[in-house]
């Protein structure tokens, strides 16, 4: 083996000086890593998707949809009126009676499998569009929204020809035309949650995307075209709350499924009163995330952060009330603040962004107003230093300590990146405070003790309980609320039931 000659003294000195040079680092700036915008083409204007094609709105009305991170206009969207909605419902009814309800269930399944596959194939394109129109970080739209949306279609595809095993002795049959109204926080995923079980059960659909986030639903129409889904089985009508109200009011709609605020949910429940329409509601929440003193602290902090800063806190099941056992309060708060300082707020299309833009100006104002109320009521606010972009709608991750149960920030759903921290001393106290809300969508429990996990899970009045984790979703897992968080379940076998009628004896 050849021995190389030693380097010269001069060389050594130079090397030595060089290694000392960079000994202290104050910051490691990650270079921008934006996903390419040109992955997806956005049309200048969109019509309504009725009967398998885009048509001009009879209302002749349009509005502009924007990129909330820059306020840049993206496209002109149709505002569907009463006649447009009626036209869409007729198309759905026609497709239901002539085609979809008579199709062999195994054929229905194959259409849904096709949709799932196409979504997987085009997932990056959808992810970019979702982030542009909604403001959410590309990491989340890429790693959460899109895989889950495709998985929902895949999951329910398999149910289409197995319904009698899901509901033995009940002779399941489809209901007819489902009117579905979805929110802006997970636009495509909520579309999948709605459309997949509805079609699997044999219904046809008129879906209204949220006013601010119509674009992925409109791109989804192209997926339907590629899948060769029969015309009219899925119809997409865009517009604001007025369009939704027309859909709810339409007499030929057999079932309404709504995800959104509790306030609107109640209005819909009132509107369908006496009509005999089937109804499911997935509404707001003010979830308690409860950390006991024996919890795995670093993972609990991750769960807290994921619970409230995931998707800018625009999550109905967000863990917006943190209950910390007093004996570990200081440690948790220190860890939480430290962790918050590493959150990267900014360009939703940057692959390293953790917290993106607030979805709309109206939502930003609502968040700002509630945060101001927290300050005014005497809670202590902390926001990590972070430079927010000048254009667009932004709100820094925020935590409030010294919060009393009576403060508005501990009672009202903020739907933003704002956490309220409260304390407790005993498990009983934690349960009592956690349940002390009109909502009941979700809850979190962090403890190493198995028996305590089960006891807490049993006593918390919430439709989803995450123990030693938070904000996990899966098509096989039923999701939905107790109390004013709504009724009916989405996901799993239970998620089929709202889309079926039964001829049991």
């Amino acid at each position: 083996m050849k021995t190389p000659a030693p380097v010269t003294e001069g060389g050594r000195d130079a090397v030595l000086a060089k290694s000392k040079r960079a000994a202290i680092v104050s910051k490691w700036d990650y270079a921008p890593a934006p996903e390419a915008k040109d992955l997806v083409k956005i049309a200048d204007r969109y019509g309504l998707f009725i009967g398998g094609k885009f048509v001009e709105p009879l209302s002749k009305q349009r509005y502009t949809t924007i990129d909330p991170s820059s306020e840049e206009p993206l496209s002109e969207i149709a505002q569907a009126g009463k006649a447009d909605v009626a036209k869409a419902v007729r198309a759905a009814r026609d497709a239901y009676t002539r085609r979809w309800s008579t199709l062999r269930p195994s054929e229905r399944a194959k259409y849904l499998y096709r949709i799932a596959r196409i979504l997987q194939e085009r997932s990056r394109e959808f992810a970019v569009l979702e982030s542009r129109n909604g403001g959410k970080p590309i990491r989340e739209s890429r790693d959460v929204d899109l895989p889950l949306a495709a998985a929902h279609f895949f999951y329910y595809a398999g149910w289409a020809d197995k319904l009698e095993y899901a509901f033995p002795n009940r002779k399941p049959r489809p209901i007819g035309v489902a009117g579905q109204i979805i929110p802006w926080n997970f636009p495509l995923l909520m579309l999948a949650w709605k459309i997949a079980p509805a079609l699997a059960a044999g219904n046809t659909v008129v879906l209204k995307p949220a006013e601010t986030t119509p674009l992925t639903a409109l791109l989804f129409c192209d997926v339907l075209r590629q899948a060769e889904l029969p015309p009219g089985v899925v119809n997409i009508v865009t517009g604001d709350g007025r369009t939704g109200a027309e859909l709810v009011a339409n007499a030929d709609v057999n079932k309404i499924a709504f995800t959104g605020s509790t306030e609107v949910g109640k209005a819909i429940q009132r509107a369908v009163a006496g009509s005999g329409k089937r109804l499911t509601l997935e509404l707001g929440g003010k979830a308690a995330n409860i950390v006991f003193d024996d919890a795995p602290l670093d993972q609990a902090v991750e769960g807290i952060v994921n619970g409230i800063y995931f998707n800018q806190g625009h999550v109905c099941c967000a863990g917006s009330r943190l209950f910390v056992q007093e004996s570990i309060y200081d440690a948790i708060i220190a860890k939480l603040k430290r962790r918050m300082s590493t959150l990267r707020v900014g360009d939703p299309l940057d692959k390293n962004t953790d917290v993106g833009a607030i979805n709309s100006k109206a939502q930003l104002e609502k968040i700002a107003g509630l945060v101001q109320s927290g300050v005014d009521e005497g809670a202590e606010i902390y926001q990590p230093p972070c430079k927010l972009p000048e254009r667009g709608y932004w709100f820094a991750p925020t935590v409030f300590t010294n919060v009393a149960q009576s403060y508005r920030i501990a009672q009202e759903e903020i739907f933003g990146p704002v956490l309220s921290v409260l304390t407790f001393r005993t498990p009983d106290e934690a349960v009592e405070k956690a349940n002390n809300t009109p909502y009941g969508l979700s809850a979190g429990v962090w403890t190493e003790k198995g028996s305590r996990i089960l006891a807490m899970a049993q006593r918390l009045r919430a439709g989803v309980v995450w123990a030693n984790t938070y904000n996990r979703f899966d098509p096989a897992s039923p999701f939905g609320g107790y109390k004013e968080s709504g009724f009916g379940r989405e996901g799993g076998r239970h998620g089929l039931e709202p889309y079926l009628a039964f001829d049991e004896g």
């Binding site: 021995t3 090397v15 890593a33 190493e448």
Partner: protein, 313 residues
Amino acid sequence: MATAPALPGGFELPLEPRLPRLGSVDAVGLEERAAMLATRSIKRASKVFALDLAIRCMDLTTLEGADTPGKVAALSSKAIRPDPTDPGIPSVAAICVYPNLVPAALERTKGTSVKVASVATAFPSGQAPLDVKLAEVRDVVAMGAHEVDMVIDRGAFLSGRYAQVYDEIVQVKEACAGRAHLKVILETGELGSYDNVRRAALLAIAGGADFIKTSTGKVSTNATLPVALCMLEVIRDVHEETGRVVGLKVAGGIRQAKQAVQYLVQVYETLGPAWLTPDRYRIGASTLLNDILMQLRKERTGRYQNPDYFTID
């Protein structure tokens, strides 16, 4: 044993100053966090910074039965000047060798910034009588090694004889006599759970470790991102609780520049920029260096590289 700090809480009766509570680790949560950090996209200048840092934090290692002074000489040259065609490339932090090769390594690195680390305490198994292990440590320190990489007695740890593990670390630390830095290898691949990794890390720190180190590189499971994250979190807890600074060395199986960047991202987002220094972070590796050099040259030239253009030492 005068310098040994108190035992970690949860093992024995609490003493002042307390170390962080023993606590526990949720495996799924830890692995998810590690996986999320691994998605960071590090490009351009930030990538060059990371690769440059990875070299400066590297313990260039040869731990083979076939090692010779010639092999160590070649390694030393590579350590001092990793890429003779590019004077902008820094030296690595240290070379890491078996005790017998410490003199050769010292001679070849004399006058440079490159330190010499020696494994000791019956590396890699640790299965030798204590006096033999201590004699070995005293020998390498006497030879002039700057750093000692010891292994813990996993047999004792797994059978619950924590005090024995602790005492051994304390005595090795004494044998270092303030002249050599002590890295304590936990051999996490043999510990069975992240809870045990956390325990062993606290035990090593309590016993006086300057660095805690994941692996020997001699078992099937070496450093992994979640294990490293688990150990970083222990180091963070110790620092928050006591102000004491402890370093981390990841070792075994880190062969690609991309992995090195992922490990550095973990450090940066867990402990902050203060740990982005060879005084507090090391990467034990052998073939990693050339992959980093290839990546750096690609960043400089814009061309993807061919390994034949980089020396194998």
